[in-house]
């Protein structure tokens, strides 16, 4: 089978069982600016990659080594991305949710807040100032007044 690239080429055969097609494409794309790249089938589950350097000074065999390294890197990167897909999607969804900003008036009106679903308020934040700091009833007669109310000895009262 001819690649159409003429002389000065180097070829590699890649097993698709080891390196997925996307990894081969990824590596080919990296080399497309330095080489002419041709892909062909070399059999079942095998891809033949032909490289021809664009500049005459470049060594085709050295490029083959570089291509194989890139291929390995691409395959490994894709495997990591695949393993962490759920995690990446979760982070992206959270980031997009945060970027959407606080809920609008329509969202708040659409929320179902009733007696049962209302939030708890253990710190009394939702309580009014009067309700929270209202004066307590005066102590009954005969009971000692609180110490703070009686001025200390020698202290002048206004």
């Amino acid at each position: 089978m001819t690649s159409g690239l003429g002389d000065g080429t180097a070829t590699i055969e890649v097993d698709e069982g080891l390196y997925p097609k996307d990894a081969v494409y990824g590596a080919a794309y990296i080399f497309i600016d330095r080489c002419y790249v041709h892909l062909d089938r070399a059999g079942e589950q095998r891809i033949k990659v032909t490289l021809k350097p664009k500049k005459p000074g470049l060594d085709a065999e050295a490029l083959v080594g570089e291509f194989q390294n890139e291929l390995l890197g691409q395959a490994w990167r894709r495997q990591i991305a695949e393993e962490n897909r759920a995690f990446i999607e979760s982070i992206t969804a959270r980031a997009l949710g945060g970027a959407a900003g606080p809920p609008g008036l329509d969202d708040l009106l659409a929320m179902d807040i009733g007696e049962e679903s209302a939030f708890e308020d253990p710190l009394g934040i939702a309580m009014s100032w009067e309700e929270k700091y209202k004066k307590k009833d005066k102590p009954a007669e005969g009971e000692a007044a609180p110490e703070a109310a009686t001025p200390a000895e020698g202290e002048k009262t206004p």
Binding site: T2, G4, L5, D22, G26, H38, L39, R41
Partner: protein, 88 residues
């Protein structure tokens, strides 16, 4: 004449069409099928050769363009949400 062969499992047909359109002003290009291969025959025009571009280089550039377009198209397709297979 330079003959280029593109396997249908590795190259997108639309990408090859696009590459042929891009390089058509510089060469006479014939497109055909041979089994599982798209066959592109490139004959550089006299003007192109006069400008110092060899037929081999022109064919090789077409080859790279078709590969680049194939990868771009695959990337665009991969960006769309995958279709989940539901078990019956």
């Amino acid at each position: 004449m330079t003959e280029l062969r593109f396997h249908e499992e590795l190259y997108d047909g639309f990408a090859i069409d696009e590459a042929v359109k891009v390089y058509a002003p510089y060469a006479a290009i014939d497109l055909s099928r041979d089994g599982k291969h798209y066959v592109v025959k490139v004959t550089a025009s006299a003007e192109t050769v006069e400008q110092g571009v060899t037929e081999g280089d022109l064919g090789a550039e077409l080859l790279n363009y078709a590969l680049g377009q194939t990868i771009s198209r695959r990337g665009a397709e991969a960006g769309s949400p995958p279709v989940e297979k539901k078990e019956a």
